[in-house]
């Protein structure tokens, strides 16, 4: 028994739509981050603002072979960002917002509010993991009263080729996040206003 042509066409279009919607998940979580040396820490407690809405934000960018990759940049990069701040300051805490009501009870000296932007690409026609990944962290730093103290931007670039990423599809992304976190820590350390 053959199906009517319209049903076969609809089924075929559904399959094409499903294939077109394919986005491979990536994890941006870097296993290592900036090292913490207790002897050189700034004796301050600081906070950073990543909201639940930020953590839930899913981003889709290009991979290889016409495919896409999707990930949660704030959720995945939070650990590295926190490690970067912990490599500079004695104590670090997350804050739900940069408002005085949220900042006041936490007793922090500075509030770091990051904006994360990512890009990815691959020249490959046959493999989907990105060979290049870029992570930009633009950060505004305010004091406990909300006055701006500093503003800086860092970018981490990660690259990975097939032989490397065949066992870790997220490798270029992880490398990019690791570099961005190291540069973030350096930018904070360099700025005398952030001591």
């Amino acid at each position: 028994m053959s199906l009517p042509r319209s049903i076969r066409l609809a089924a075929a279009l559904s399959v094409v739509a499903l294939l077109g919607a394919c986005a491979h998940p990536l994890s941006l979580d870097s296993p290592t981050g900036p090292a913490r040396n207790d002897a050189t820490l700034v004796a301050k407690k600081v906070g950073y603002v990543i909201t639940d809405a930020d953590r839930a934000r899913q981003v889709t960018t290009p991979g290889g072979g016409g495919d896409k990759v999707s990930y949660f940049p704030y959720r995945d990069i939070e650990k590295s960002l926190r490690q970067a701040l912990r490599s500079v300051y004695q104590d670090v805490t997350s804050l739900p917002a940069a408002t005085p009501a949220a900042v006041g009870p936490a007793g922090v000296g500075f509030v770091f509010t990051p904006v994360i932007t990512t890009t990815s690409s691959s020249p490959s026609a046959f493999t989907w993991p990105p060979t290049k990944f870029s992570t930009e962290i633009a950060c505004t730093v305010t004091d406990a009263q909300g006055a701006q103290i500093a503003q800086f931007k860092v970018t981490g670039d990660g690259a990975a080729e097939f032989d490397e990423f065949k066992s870790d599809h997220s490798l270029s992304a992880r490398r990019s996040v690791k570099e961005a976190a190291e540069k973030f820590a350096q930018a904070v350390r360099r700025d005398p206003k952030l001591r």
């Binding site: 499903l18 394919c22 998940p25 650990k79 997350s94 065949k166």
Partner: protein
């Protein structure tokens, strides 16, 4: 790309908001007993994603949860291996199901027992179900499953850390 027979799950990431709240709550130091069952052949230590076996980098899923718990307590400044307050946990249900074509579920039930100087302070089972995207293509569904497990553990541990009964059980 070849079909995976062994799929490593992604690294665990803590819920820092709830970990920081524990840190700010002036609680007693706690130790963590090995999470059970530690037998790699136990049902809860085996998750299959459309034919591929999901693997925890550190051996079993019980160990994965134990290391996540210890790591979070260290982050909160509360971990001490010799503390009289001890957390014991048993995985009762532990599964990531990627049979769905559009969305799938992760399920984790964890029985938590808190004792202080061997006297019970809490016995409670925490149940967590998470939902995540899937795909009718097996390889993509598998990748979603690999990424979903750490989020399942993240959600389950967060549920424990924000529970007032748990917080009271480890309070000084």
């Amino acid at each position: 790309m070849c079909r995976l027979r062994h799929a490593p799950c992604a690294p665990y990431t803590p819920d820092y908001d709830s970990v920081d709240r524990l840190k700010a709550a002036s609680l007693a130091p706690v130790a963590v007993n090995p999470v059970q069952p530690n037998n790699p052949e136990a049902k809860v230590n085996k998750i299959t994603l459309r034919g591929a076996r999901l693997g925890a980098a550190n051996g079993t899923f019980a160990r994965y949860v134990e290391e996540a718990l210890i790591r979070d307590l260290k982050e909160a400044g509360l971990y001490s291996a010799e503390a009289p307050t001890r957390i014991s946990a048993t995985l009762l249900v532990n599964d990531v199901d990627v049979t769905g074509f559009v969305t799938c579920d992760g399920t984790l039930d964890l029985e938590v027992v808190v004792t202080r100087a061997d006297k019970p302070r809490l016995r409670k089972t925490y149940k967590m179900v998470t939902h995540f995207d899937s795909n009718f293509m097996g390889m993509i569904a598998l990748q979603h499953g690999m990424a979903a497990y750490p989020q399942l553990v993240h959600a389950a541990l967060k549920q424990i850390y924000v529970d007032p009964e748990f917080i009271n059980a480890i309070r000084n």
